[in-house]
């Protein structure tokens, strides 16, 4: 299950953060997201020279904690997406598929003429789309 999803701007400014748990662990999730930013910077600035993955937007598993797995994605426009899940047995393809759909929802949200670049995304349509994508996570790799 996805417990948290975050969008962070190129100056590490939060653009969107949504948790999907009932539990009161918002603080903990924020902390995880925050820590993952450093991991992303680290990855991007010191890329492993391993052929095809160089400069790929999908950054893969950033780090595992006891209870969570954290995945990252960095767009060409230097915006970071962070996914926190409690599933410990996650297929890479599912995560990639998730980010692809999430990216497309994000791009439509910032195409709204009233969205101010660098400001938080407040769109209801975006929130609904994200919730749909989150719910269908891992259910099918199609689409």
């Amino acid at each position: 299950m996805i417990v948290c999803i975050a969008v962070v701007g190129h100056q590490n400014n939060p653009l969107y953060l949504q948790s999907f748990t009932e539990a009161d662990d918002a603080l903990k999730l924020h902390h995880i997201v925050h820590c993952s930013l450093d991991v992303i910077d680290e990855r991007v600035n010191n890329p492993k020279k391993t052929g095809p993955t160089l400069n790929e937007t999908f950054l893969g598993l950033l780090y595992p904690t006891e209870n969570y797995k954290v995945y990252g994605y960095l767009t060409n426009t230097k915006v970071k997406f962070i996914l926190v899940t409690t599933d410990l047995d996650v297929r890479d393809a599912d995560v990639r598929n998730f980010f692809r759909r999430f990216h497309s929802a994000y791009v439509d949200a910032v195409s709204n003429p009233f969205h101010v670049p660098g400001k938080k995304i407040t769109s209801r349509t975006f929130a609904e789309r994200v919730s749909t994508i989150v719910k269908s996570f891992g259910l099918s790799t199609a689409v």
Binding site: S111, P113, F114
Partner: protein, 186 residues
């Protein structure tokens, strides 16, 4: 030589040069946002969008006539149909349905379910008075004026404001025949 029959909307749209709608949609959005910043008052933005549409309409009418082979615009009912099925299709790639005629046949509604101007758009709470698509009503008004029909075009329903469709009300005010423009003083 018989005059050529008017073309269908699909045929004309297939023959005109087309571009990716994203550029159109985003450019219009950026114009609306800039106008809101520069003009401050939402009412004034509505007015200017309508004016811009009018100016566009008086340009587009000749391209429409040249490419659609429409040779007469005498009957208002026929004209409304042509706008809905050929005009909108040729430029925006969408069609409208014509409904709600009044008894005199001088006013009707154009109902659009879809419209490329509004892709991605969500109105913020501060812009509730904005008629986002007001440029479109201006275009129709301008184009009709060039074919001698003075009209009033207003928005009745707007999906950006929570309605279930986009509905434009067209009202024919008068048909203005062409007058001899010179004074007979020579």
């Amino acid at each position: 030589m018989a005059p050529l029959a008017p073309r269908t909307g699909d045929a004309v749209f297939a023959n005109v040069e087309r571009v990716n709608a994203e550029l159109f949609t985003l450019t219009y959005g950026a114009i609306v946002r800039q106008l809101l910043t520069d003009l401050e008052e939402v009412e004034e933005v509505n007015k200017q969008l309508d004016q811009m549409g009018y100016n566009i309409g008086i340009r587009l009418i000749d391209e429409f006539l040249a490419k659609s082979n429409v040779s007469r615009c005498v009957d208002f009912k026929e004209t409304a149909d042509v706008i809905a099925k050929v005009g909108l299709k040729m430029f925006l790639g969408v069609t409208a349905s014509v409904t709600n005629w009044d008894v005199d046949g001088t006013s009707c509604s154009l109902v659009l379910e879809d419209n490329p101007l509004v892709d991605f758009v969500e109105l913020p709470d501060t812009c509730q008075g904005l008629y986002y698509c007001n440029i479109l009503s201006g275009v129709i008004r301008g184009a009709l004026e060039m074919v001698s029909m003075k009209t009033e075009v207003t928005w009745v329903r707007d999906m950006l404001r929570g309605d279930d469709a986009y509905e434009l009300r067209l009202k024919l005010l008068k048909q203005v025949p062409e007058e001899y423009p010179y004074k007979d003083d020579e």
